[in-house]
Amino acid sequence: MSTAGTAQQTTQEQHVGYYVYGIVPSDVELTEDARGIEDRDIQLIRHGDIAAMVSEISIRAAIGRPEDLAAHERLLDATAPEAPVLPFRFGSVMADADAVTEHLLEPNHDTFTAALKELEGRTEYIVKGRYDEKAILEEVLAENEEAAGLRSQIRGKDEITTRDLRMELGEIIHEALDAKRTSDTNELAEAISDHAVAHSVLAPTHEYDATHLAFLVETARRESFEKCVDDVARERQGRINFRLLGPLAPYDFVVTQR
């Protein structure tokens, strides 16, 4: 019976949504091994000059596991060096393919197109620097007489009687690290930004963070950028340990304006 078929379809529609990873130019072609969350095939829903990268997802699926986050990032990062991509926030799901076209691609066609044009041939890198604990504490103690004084007052005494002194010492170190973080971040941004189109200072994620910077880099200049970061890292070896993430999708250079 035909009604049975329709009913089944309706049920299916209610359970399947479209997970949106990002927007790419419509001339993008996916490679066969492109996979998304739950290892699903990636589809492109095209409209004019743009296309949404989506995959079907069970509406009832509880996403948010580490592998889901990794799948989201993996697809976007794999796309970024090949084609400009506007990354969507993790967990963006729309009801069906029509909704993607009607409510996402159609009304935003021109702004998405313009943003993609700005991102053409550009990818993001993240530079993370973390102070070597021993090196940075010794530096602070050498520069700050008050801290050095507190240190010798505390030395060898028990924790309870020295609690106030230790609090005081800790506060001085915290403030000193804050100041160092700001000046090191500025210094590093300046040293590297010549090799990038733009940069953005990200919030520190750890109390010993020396720097957390995102750079938008021309694909053609990736090599010189990476070399510059490498040089910068070498110069500060022993004091700051650096990590370079990328090329990535431009997570830190695309924003939604309300």
Partner: protein, 140 residues
């Protein structure tokens, strides 16, 4: 013990290029970022918006201060190996329960990170190409 402060990898070179990214990196990189679907009215590049570093993550707290002081104390211990033992024992007695919780929490985080690394082991393969430009192919 509380070795909460360790660079993710203390490689010999100046720069560490982790190819399989750990969970912490994935979270830092993508969470709360990207376009929001219910407010996609307008989109634009941030451009050079330099945000001031706020104390969102690095919150000054009693715990932070005491941890810094503890780290300074550890410097002392490594410098003067002798006579450090009684202090160590004191440390363990005083902060025993506290450091245990911290250690456990950190253990979980690290375990998750390890799992992530395993999981993303094949990341590079799939990373090579998820997409291709038609236009570019035609030009070449």
């Amino acid at each position: 013990m509380t070795t909460a402060i360790q660079p993710a990898s203390g490689g010999g070179g100046g720069l560490d290029r982790p190819s399989p990214t750990g969970l912490a990196d994935v979270i830092d990189t993508i969470l709360d970022k990207g376009l929001v679907i219910d407010a996609y009215v307008r989109v634009s590049l941030v451009g050079i918006e330099v945000l001031t570093i706020d104390a969102r993550v690095v919150v000054a707290s009693v715990d932070t201060y005491l941890r810094f002081a503890e780290a300074v104390n550890r410097l002392d211990l490594t410098e003067t190996e002798t006579g450090g033992v009684p202090e160590l024992i004191d440390d363990m007695r005083e902060g025993g329960s506290k450091s245990k919780t911290k250690g456990a929490a950190q253990g979980v985080l690290e375990a998750a990170g390890e799992k992530m690394r395993d999981f993303t082991g094949d990341r590079d393969e799939s990373k090579k190409s998820a997409a291709r430009r038609k236009r570019r192919d035609e030009e070449e």
